[in-house]
Amino acid sequence: MTRWLSKNLIRIYAGLAIVYILLPIFYTIAFSFNDADKRNIVWRGFTTDAWLNPCEPIGICEALGNSFKVGLTATFFATILGTMIAFALGRYNFKGRSTTNLLIFLPMATPEVVLGASLLSMFINMGVGAGLMTVIIAHIMFCISFVVVTVKARVASLDPKLEEAARDLYANEWETFRRVTLPLVAPGIAAAALLSFSLSFDDFIITNFNSGSVNTFPEYVWTASLRGVPPQANVIGTVMFIVALAAVFAGQVVGKRKGKK
């Protein structure tokens, strides 16, 4: 018995850890099929009602749409700005580079509550009404840091000799960037964009401070939880989970195929 245990202990431990991680997700998926009444907490029987009418609860799809608007816009701008900063920091030696490097980390290190509250007071002082616009500005701000860190790592691993080779082979500055630099840094930029979107989509604290009367999906769930979260929230959560899983899976398949070729 003790021998069996010592042989399999690591497997048991790993199994428990995986269960621990997956249980909440399983719970979310299972309760999207619950025949819920007001509160979706007790299992009352299987139904596909929520899946067939995902937009039934008032405001849920509107909130989801807002989350997408904020997420996509913030990702777009944060990725462009962050990539440009990453190139500047990774490639050029300028006065104040190390200070900039440090400042870029600040939004990641600052507690979200502080950031959210100070952003709100800043917007109020400037006379900007809270709404989707302020949420987008706030999200771009904190996403940039993550983009810079991700893309910079990729830029640093890029051999400058490759760009020299491109210029030697009749590619001017723009062609060199488009044909050599950008394709080689692209995986880093794509990873940064995915990270930005998931950070923005998930964010509750900063959003809640700066959204005014507008609701994003996390805010909707938070408000709804006071009365009872409808199973449609589980449906949306499940779909998002499946989409993310599919994206990771597709990425790995493409990566493997490229490696084999």
């Binding site: 020299e164 080779a165 491109a166 030697d168 009749y170």
Partner: protein
């Protein structure tokens, strides 16, 4: 991209200097490389040879001086506007493109038609046409090296620069590539400028070798010329090994110089004397010495009173260290062909050599 102007002719570097913040990499260097030649820049690391190459490629700008090909000044021309291509030491193949697209890169940028035929032809030349759909990461070092060469050659530049192109290959592959490179150069007729720190590589491949040291050219000539008649101690020691014995000129006798080295009188042809004054450094290559038992018949110049202090077998030859009466140790190579006497450590020996193999340098040279 527009097609770079048809530039042809000799490559001329005149008074090129390149200074960085705290040192001068290339110091007032002037050089003419004839069109169609295989030229090697040889020197130890940090001698300025790679910086020189990068200035020819346009990847560095000289601090002062002028670079031209034929009548065209290219000193400040952008790298993509000059008819020069480089084979990089690390090959620098584009990892995200196939072998075909790597080779086609230069042609596509210049908007040349019929890329396919040109690429196929050059891939045939380096015998790697079957790998055209692979990515660089799936090729061996030797194959990558050949693709890097093909990617440059396909553009038919006026000048092809090779930056230590064989440095990353093992010895056997390096030998094979040396022969192939030489053959390809003859085949395509492009001027090759080859930078290397490997004297054997430079001598095997190049028509003309320039030996560089501290940002300057020490000596320029054919491989045989540099080996047999080095003009400086640095060249004599960088290309092979040399023994130097201090001496003074005693007299000149017709076409010969008579000199005294450490009490022994020797002669050598006047043409072999590069010293301006009477103080000499007399150079003799280790393989030019012959070993004799004391009292044997000798001819040529003779140095008596040596004692063997070390023997090491190196395969084709045996290396002896011989201590002379003035406490200098001389290196002697003897072919393992049965011609040399059987010697053991401690044996007394006499050295001789033919006068025409002597080379005399200025006594003050280092």
């Amino acid at each position: 991209m527009s097609e770079p102007k048809k530039v042809q002719g000799d490559l001329v570097l005149s008074h090129i200097t390149k200074s960085f913040a705290d040192f001068t990499a290339v110091d007032d260097l002037s050089l003419t490389i004839p069109k169609g030649s295989f030229f090697a820049l040889l020197g130890p690391s940090g001698c300025g040879k790679t910086t020189t190459l990068r200035m020819i490629a346009g990847l560095e700008e000289p601090t002062s001086g002028k670079i031209s090909i034929g009548d065209t000044d290219i000193t400040y021309t952008k790298p993509y506007d000059r008819p020069v291509n480089t084979v990089f030491q690390s090959y620098a193949l584009f990892p995200h493109l196939t072998i075909f697209e790597n080779v086609a890169f230069g042609l596509r940028r210049r908007g040349i038609k019929d890329v396919d035929a040109a690429v196929e032809k050059v891939l045939g030349l380096v015998e790697l046409a079957h790998l055209k759909n692979r990515k660089p990461g799936q090729l061996s070092g030797g194959q990558q090296q050949r693709i890097a060469l093909a990617r440059a050659v396909v553009n038919r530049p006026a000048l092809l620069l090779l930056d230590e192109p064989l440095g990353a290959l093992d010895l056997k592959l390096r030998r094979q590539m040396q022969i192939e490179l030489k053959w390809i150069q003859t085949e395509v007729g492009i001027t090759f400028v080859h930078v290397t720190h490997d004297q054997e590589e430079a001598m095997t491949m190049a028509d003309t070798v320039a030996v560089m040291n501290n940002g300057k050219i020490e000596q320029l000539g054919s491989p045989a010329d540099l080996y047999e008649s080095p003009k400086t101690v640095f060249v004599a020691n960088f290309l092979g090994q040399s023994n130097f014995i201090d001496g003074v000129v005693e007299s000149t006798d017709g076409s010969n110089v008579v000199a005294n080295i450490q009490g022994t009188r020797i002669t050598f042809p006047k043409s072999r004397n590069n010293a301006s004054g009477s103080a000499l450094k007399v150079g003799i290559r280790p393989e030019k010495f012959r070993l004799h038992d004391p009292g044997d018949n000798t001819h040529g110049n003779v140095l008596a009173g040596g004692k063997i202090t070390d023997i090491s077998f190196t395969g084709v030859s045996t290396q002896y260290l011989v201590e002379m009466p003035w406490k200098q140790e001389l290196v002697v190579f003897e072919q393992n062909d049965g011609g040399a006497p059987d010697l053991v450590k401690g044996d007394p020996v006499t050295l001789s050599w033919e006068p025409q193999f002597t080379f005399a340098l200025d006594g003050a040279s280092k």
